[in-house]
């Protein structure tokens, strides 16, 4: 039931074209667990890098005043809360603006409302908080008939395959 369109498309001649056709055929469908997990892993890496940057900056500033440079001797609560804050801010900004974070951009997925519209700032921040404090909600995607995570069910959001389709189409034409 998932790819009736693929058979109608012109026969692909190269591997890359075959991929494009396959990707096209699934645009707008609900993304599955692996794609979303991949996107989230990339996002976690981004957040860790950003946090590392913050800690480094803080260490440099601290060094200027105390002549004592240490990067990783911060209390755990500080590191953890900084991680949560950065993660929430990062996810919220991505989802509220385009529905995509960096990880979702790479994985080619987008968060929208069940109505198909963009999720607003409030939904985005609640979703971000829910994900940061209970990432296991994503696992429900495996079981859900609509590939929905617990967060999706609570906030009526969906994650779709979305490759910025116009670009893809232009490439197929070319």
């Amino acid at each position: 039931m998932e790819t009736p369109a693929a058979s109608v498309s012109p026969l692909p001649t190269t591997k890359a074209e075959a991929r494009l056709v396959r990707g096209q055929s699934l645009q707008g469908q609900r993304a599955g667990f692996i794609s979303r997990l991949g996107a989230d892993i990339i996002d976690v890496i981004v957040v860790v890098l950003v946090e590392f940057g913050f800690l480094f900056l803080a260490a440099v500033i601290r060094y200027l005043f105390t002549r004592d440079f240490h990067l990783f001797h911060n209390p755990v609560w500080l590191t953890a809360s900084l991680f949560w804050i950065i993660a929430v801010a990062y996810l919220t900004s991505g989802w509220a603006s385009t529905g995509k974070t960096l990880g979702k951009q790479v994985a080619g997925v987008r968060v929208v409302r069940t109505t198909g519209k963009r999720i607003g700032f409030r939904t985005a921040i609640v979703r971000a908080i829910l994900y940061v404090f209970f990432p296991w909600g994503l696992v429900w995607t495996l079981v859900s008939r609509k590939n929905a995570s617990l967060q999706d069910l609570l906030l009526k959001t969906v994650v779709l395959y979305d490759w910025s389709y116009r670009e893809v189409a232009a490439k197929v034409d070319a």
Binding site: R19, Q29, L160
Partner: protein
């Protein structure tokens, strides 16, 4: 007759070196050229001289003179040897005493004590030195913007960046995305089979999102999604209720 051969020999390299404009070489060659008559004369005279020196009386005189000279030479040599040994002996005997005397008069510790290292270091003001190196001015003088522009112009970096970035998005990212899609579907089917689901999943997205995604200006004709998308979208919208998923 063989003199003439000998005479011409020195002339031969003259031609070779002349081309090299080597002044010294030229000079030597010229000298050889000038001397060549004399050398030729010498060659010519040599047999006569030899004959004279081999003549009995001459040989006796020159032999006596040679013996006398040899005697003087040996004597001079022994004298020289004796003098060197005496000098050596003298230095060996006197030098330690001299050095001791010198060091008796000089207190090295006192000298070291007098050098105030801290003051020396203090006078070399590293900070002042660094302050004199005006890094900002230096950086200002180097127009990095212009430099980068020129570099990019030279290497045509723009083209490379454009090509590589487009290649990355089209090839690698597409591959990753499609692999993700395939993995998604595989996992979906696997879980469905484990749960003994008969109807599989309903993965159609919201109609508006689908039509927005598939109804781009360049996709018409080629992409059959629009009508199919709206169909799916209806199904999607109906099935969106969260309660559906709990089953």
């Amino acid at each position: 007759m063989d003199h003439t051969d000998d005479v011409t020999e020195p002339h031969e390299p003259q031609d070779e070196t002349a081309s090299e404009t080597n002044l010294l070489g030229d000079a030597v060659e010229v000298l050889f050229g000038l001397l060549s008559p004399a050398i030729a004369a010498g060659h010519g005279v040599a047999p006569t001289v030899r004959r004279i020196s081999n003549w009995g009386p001459v040989r006796g005189v020159s032999g006596a003179a040679g013996r006398t000279l040899e005697g003087w030479r040996i004597r001079g040599k022994t004298e020289q040897q004796r003098f060197l040994e005496a000098l050596d002996d003298f230095i060996r005997r006197t030098l330690p005493g001299v050095i001791d005397a010198v060091f008796d008069h000089i207190d090295v510790n006192d000298i070291i004590g007098r050098i105030d290292l801290n003051r020396v270091m203090g006078e070399v003001d590293l900070n002042a030195l660094m302050a004199k190196v005006d890094l900002d001015a230096m950086m200002e003088r180097i127009d990095f913007g212009k430099l980068t522009d020129r570099l990019i112009e030279e290497v045509d970096l723009r083209q490379i960046m454009r090509e590589s970035s487009s290649t990355i998005t089209s090839e690698a990212v597409d591959a990753v995305r499609v692999q993700g899609m395939n993995a998604d579907r595989f996992v979906d089917r696997l879980v469905d089979r484990i749960l003994f689901r008969k109807n599989g999943r309903d993965l159609a997205g919201p109609a508006t999102a689908v039509s927005e995604l598939t109804g781009g200006p360049t996709t018409n004709g080629q992409d059959p999604h629009p009508e199919e998308g709206s169909e799916d979208g209806d199904a999607g919208r109906i099935g969106v209720a969260a309660s559906d998923d709990q089953g």
